[in-house]
Subunit: 327 residues, 2 copies
């Protein structure tokens, strides 16, 4: 079911231009010197709503509008950045949005979704949030799936495409993998704009369903929401669609919680950016891959977002890991 062609990333880029930020690239002199390689970070934490998710939501709603297939009511489920993304993209088009959010989600994210003008319905569990959209879809609302949607995938791929257009001569591209939307889009963008580059996904060891799905060729579904600190990739399962792209990657890196915290501290320190643990996770994979390389490499890292609850920050900074070099 590889139904998104690489060219559709370029079409998405044209469609969402002016409605999302073209985010900047960052490098750390200290990090590059320490590693002996060049690491270029695409700062989607500086995207509107603080995450790349706005790209996919905007592309989906605008593509449907072009096709006169956009309802005047939009719905979605999410415990995270997709909620704000759909709310923001819907408001920009003057369309009503209803977002189902499990009540365990962070207060900051719920408030931010409401601030984008969406109606937020809190549910007992993630499963109920997912089931609740059915009624809305039946009555004709437009549903935006967080990753199992070709327009969402194409939209998410524009972050990588922009970076490659901006001159990053990447030997490898790294991004985090949850449901696989960002990863699939990143794969397609790289095939389009820099086919010689390797592409790697990073996933928490305790939420390694995507990696196991690729290994077994069948979707592995987690029984319950994993407790990884990387809350952007707590998805229970990938989809047939995203699995078809994930299977074509050059590899997966599984990352421990301690490594995620270590790199969140260090990227906060080195880049002076607020970065979600999900984003920092990639660096554990990058350093492992670089150890297999014999020549200086350029690596593109897609920083997925910067929305962190105070409680998560307290957890991240509970101990000082800046005394320990992560390379």
């Amino acid at each position: 079911m590889t139904d998104v062609r690489p060219e559709e990333i370029a079409a998405a880029q044209e469609r969402i231009a002016g409605h999302v930020h073209r985010t900047p690239l960052f490098q750390s002199e200290t990090l590059n010197r320490a590693l002996g390689h060049r690491i270029v970070f695409k700062a989607e934490n500086l995207q509107r709503i603080g995450a790349f998710k706005l790209r996919g939501a905007t592309n989906t709603l605008r593509a449907l509008k072009e096709q006169k297939a956009l309802s005047d009511e939009v719905c979605a489920f999410s415990s995270g950045n997709h909620a704000q993304a759909v709310a923001y993209a819907a408001r920009a088009l003057g369309v009503k949005a209803t977002i189902f959010i499990p009540k365990q989600a962070s207060g900051v994210k719920i408030a931010a979704t409401r601030a984008c003008g969406a109606e937020v319905v809190l549910t007992e569990t993630r499963q109920i949030a997912e089931a609740s959209v059915a009624e809305y879809i039946e009555r004709g609302a437009t549903f935006v799936h967080p990753y199992d949607n070709p327009y969402v995938i194409a939209g998410q791929g524009t972050a990588c495409l922009e970076a490659l257009q901006d001159g990053v001569e990447a030997d490898a591209v790294f991004a985090p993998c949850g449901g696989g939307g960002l990863m699939s889009g990143t794969y397609l963008a790289t095939r389009l704009a820099r086919p010689q580059a390797k592409i790697f996904a990073c996933e928490p060891s305790m939420a390694n369903d995507a990696h196991r799905s690729v290994q077994t060729g069948e979707i592995v579904r987690l029984n319950e929401t994993p407790r990884t600190i990387a809350d952007g990739v707590r998805t229970l399962a990938v989809s047939e669609r995203t699995l078809s792209y994930l299977s074509q990657l050059d590899g997966f890196y599984e990352v421990d919680e301690a490594e995620i915290i270590l790199w969140t501290q260090w990227l906060t320190h080195l880049l002076k950016l607020t970065i979600e643990p999900t984003s920092a996770m990639s660096m554990a994979g990058v350093t492992r891959w670089l150890k297999t390389q014999t020549a200086p490499r350029t690596v593109l890292v897609i920083l997925s977002g910067g929305n962190i609850a105070a409680e998560t920050l307290r957890q991240i900074w509970a101990e000082d890991h800046l005394t320990q070099l992560p390379w």
Copy 2:
């Protein structure tokens, strides 16, 4: 002793071009909408070494080199960003740097200063660090004072000058005040490039020596290092030179520790930048000033830096203040 002319900020800018970053400007849509005003942030946290201090150190050493007055040995005392700034600027010119740092300083800052190639001498107290440079000066080393130096002041002013050149139509400019170097430079840059703008300094209530010095017309010296979380402005006293500029400001705002923590959380959240408490402090003054205004205003805020120890971050995030709107 107002010995720096506004034009010298422009001369400093030319001198340090290419040796420091021209840092970007940031705005938060959410913040602007909530306040009904436009707040533009100059992101010196993204400056090399993570703080504006590199500007003053670079301007001083390069000006002395032009005059053939630069020794092959440079010294400074600092518990913070000035240490790294002098170390970095000296290395760029191939000059040896010795920096005296009180041992209470954060390990991260000591390591970063060493990483810039400087010799670091740890002292028992801040007072001993300050006294230790005398011996080096006697034997001919070039001493770079953290603020009481016309070239340092001119260099620090280039951050504000850049922002004003980049089109910020500021009605008011806010910056934090420690020894007064940044504040004096900011005053001069504003006089040069946007004389109609008001200029305000922000200072912790528990370290309000600069404000009291301006009020009394005499330098008020703190007896011991204040325990404010805004560790960039723990200086014990301003100098005659900086007081001469501080006396010409439009006002001071004294800020409580709770306000500093509140705004550090909120700017981290809104701007997705790593920001020192010292930098966030300004927003408490900004919101108070805006309440006196009857028309929409544009405010320029100089974010001084982003170097924070893990211990300080733990203190900042000990409680969740994102549930409390700061406006």
